[in-house]
Point group: C2
């Protein structure tokens, strides 16, 4: 199957591209390296030293004999994107090529406007390019569980049947996104749904939970293939950041009481979910939604699990409760359905001590590269005039150090133990 | 009350600005004349000869002694917009300043992308400008009934209480918009709802039905104050277009069977609804939704009413059924609640023969200006490669003249009879 991975140089995109390539698919990566540029702009970098795309792809070819074709350009440039679709003729397009950080979108007006125009225009361009050059191609679009917010009813997979005043209809599940980024994904979802109906396009919208982990079988082949591992306040996601914080003896930074509950999944399940979607395409005209996560946890659950895993490694791990910089309920009902990918064959990697162990060991291995100054939240949802540019250029807001850092790194394990499974 | 009317040089905006000014409010108009420019680009013009804004405002001052301050610029330019908010310090901002035509947004990719970026960025800018310079200002935002689509359940005003698996929550009403324009309004609605919650802004989202009529008490004062009257396939709305078609002896162009049912209102009710919203502001943090229409009709209902009104004037009016260029149900359930504005004091002008009469007489008065070539639908929802620029530059698609045009204009009435009430 010919699969184009838009955003294939990013965190989920890179893992996905290698996985699909190893599984025998003909893979192309489409990327403009904006993820690397945002790091530069913010003055942060991935914990792991990732190579330029061309060198990553060359290493992949050397280790596996498989070729992944790169197309370097911006999906908001229709001329570029339509040429890629016309030239590569994909059977599936996996669309990760968006600005994917909620805090980034909340920095200020410019970042909010950029996030929404970048994401919405990129997706509109893709829909038009498919319509024009490959209408039978299956769009596999990454959405987010954050589109739903935290309603007081069970969250269904994309649609809900509503009985109202004696009548009934199945309608898009109501959305309550909590940042300009999450809003951009809701905008995309509506745009995609419309074009499936109007033009007969076929799409699977994967509302993904929070991804954790960094190692997949493919990136573990060699350090040249290593994946991103982000821990800064803007692009770091909660579990990965907790593991790094534990490994370097920084308190785990829980926002508020930590009762915020979300869906989570291992990056090894992300790549498998994508393949499952590609192998089981939506019908023409169908806009299908899968909730792509495997387990629900509260933020405090995760902090306690990381603390416990640290203990087993002989570390002392403290938990700090910071004022929540986001506008979100700190305690709420949360029950989201996520059965459709399992029905299609997903066998989840559930969160385990060994995975936490693995993440902490990656952190230990690269701890010389850790910048402690970028971990604390400075982007405040209630005040859109946070600051532009590097998080280092202005002092932390709302942060009073809680418990003194006492953690000692007592254990270092060999790099051979880095694999998460 | 100080009220800024964004888009105050347009159809609803102009009528609203004059009405609010006459009612004693201090009114500013913010406009970049893009509505006039789109006419130029498309090679069409309003039936009625409207004057430049400065001359309209001078006439208003002469006839009423009241001053409306113009701010000329683009709401997608944050520097401009924020300066206006800072300088004028409005109590309410009425936001009409968007690209408001569904067919325009469906012309091709460029028009779709323009519509969504123009509307979404303009509204984001306004939200940020209010947050920064006038957070207590009440945003009165024009949405559209088209955001809801045509669900098989009753349409509520913005929110619906859902019982599901034994639990209950009140959530945003699910949206099924039917064009890139309608989608842009849904994007706006989500963005506004979020900023009310995150920043405590106060907003009323008016989901307006299809507006008809052209005469209000204010614009009737003198021809220098005349309002737009659009009848082309892009910016013309259905009832206004039918009246012009009847007046000039052109068959009424019903799309498909004509069972498409929508909410409608008289432009005299539009202006009153806006004032009601301004005088009864949302609470800080509240995002309130009113459905702003007074009656439901199917397209065929309207055609038959216009045919009947024409008969009474001695005209022969034919009805043509054209293939529906849109993707929409031609027969469907439709029942939308619209009680909140009435509860606040709206006294509807229901559709009457005298209103139809009035519209036909405006058409007769300006019939030398009618361009018959711009009335037929050429923008096809299923094919986004319609054509760019003037509708005159390419032949009509999908149109086979139905019944020969036999209508004779038997009656001309004096301009004094033009008023609709």
């Amino acid at each position: 199957m010919k699969i184009a991975v838009l955003g294939g140089d990013g965190y989920c995109g890179w893992a996905t591209a290698l996985y699909l390539s190893r599984k025998g698919h003909e893979v192309a990566i489409v990327d403009n390296f904006s993820r690397r540029r945002w790091d530069d702009d913010l003055g942060v970098e991935t914990l792991t030293p990732i190579l330029p795309l061309a060198r990553r792809l060359e290493a992949w070819r050397q280790f596996t004999g498989r070729v992944i074709e790169p197309f370097v350009g911006d999906v908001t440039d229709y001329g570029f994107l339509s040429t890629v679709i016309e030239a590569f003729e994909p059977d599936s397009v996996v669309h990760f090529a968006e600005q994917r950080s909620a805090p980034y979108s909340m920095i200020d007006r410019e970042h909010a406007v950029f996030t929404q125009t970048n994401n919405v225009v990129g997706t509109l361009n893709l829909l038009f390019a498919l319509r024009e050059f490959k209408p039978e191609c299956h769009l596999v679009k990454l959405g987010t569980m954050g589109e739903y917010g935290t309603p007081n009813i069970d969250i269904e997979e994309g649609y809900i049947t509503i009985e109202h005043n004696g009548r009934r209809d199945t309608l898009p599940f109501p959305k309550q996104p909590g940042s300009f980024y999450h809003l951009s994904k809701v905008h995309d979802s509506h745009n995609i749904m419309f074009t499936c109906k109007a033009w007969g396009l076929r799409a699977t919208d994967l509302n993904q939970g929070v991804v954790y982990g960094t190692i997949t079988d493919e990136v573990a082949l060699d350090e040249a293939l290593i994946n991103r591992f982000d821990y800064d306040e803007i692009f770091g996601t909660v579990l990965n950041r907790f593991c790094i914080q534990a490994a370097i003896g920084h308190p785990l930074t829980v926002y508020g009481r930590g009762g915020q509950t979300r869906g989570f999944l291992d990056v090894r399940d992300t790549v498998r979910c994508i393949e499952i979607a590609c192998l089981n395409p939506a019908a023409p005209g169908e806009c299908r939604v899968f909730n792509q996560f495997t387990e629900q946890f509260s933020v405090l659950d995760l902090a306690l699990m990381v603390q416990n895993a640290g203990h087993k490694l002989g570390m002392t791990v403290h938990i700090d409760h910071l004022p929540d910089p986001r506008v979100e309920a700190e305690q709420h009902y949360y029950n989201a359905r996520h059965s459709r990918l399992v029905e299609l064959g997903l066998q989840p990697h559930l969160l385990s001590d060994s995975l936490l162990d693995s993440l902490m060991n990656v952190a230990i291995r690269y701890r010389e590269r850790v910048d402690r100054s970028v971990m604390l939240p400075r982007v405040n949802w209630r005040d859109p005039r946070n600051r532009v540019g590097s998080p280092r250029t202005s002092p932390a807001r709302n942060y009073e150090p809680g418990i003194a850092i006492e953690t000692e790194l007592l254990v270092e394990r060999k790099a051979a133990g880095v694999r998460g499974d």
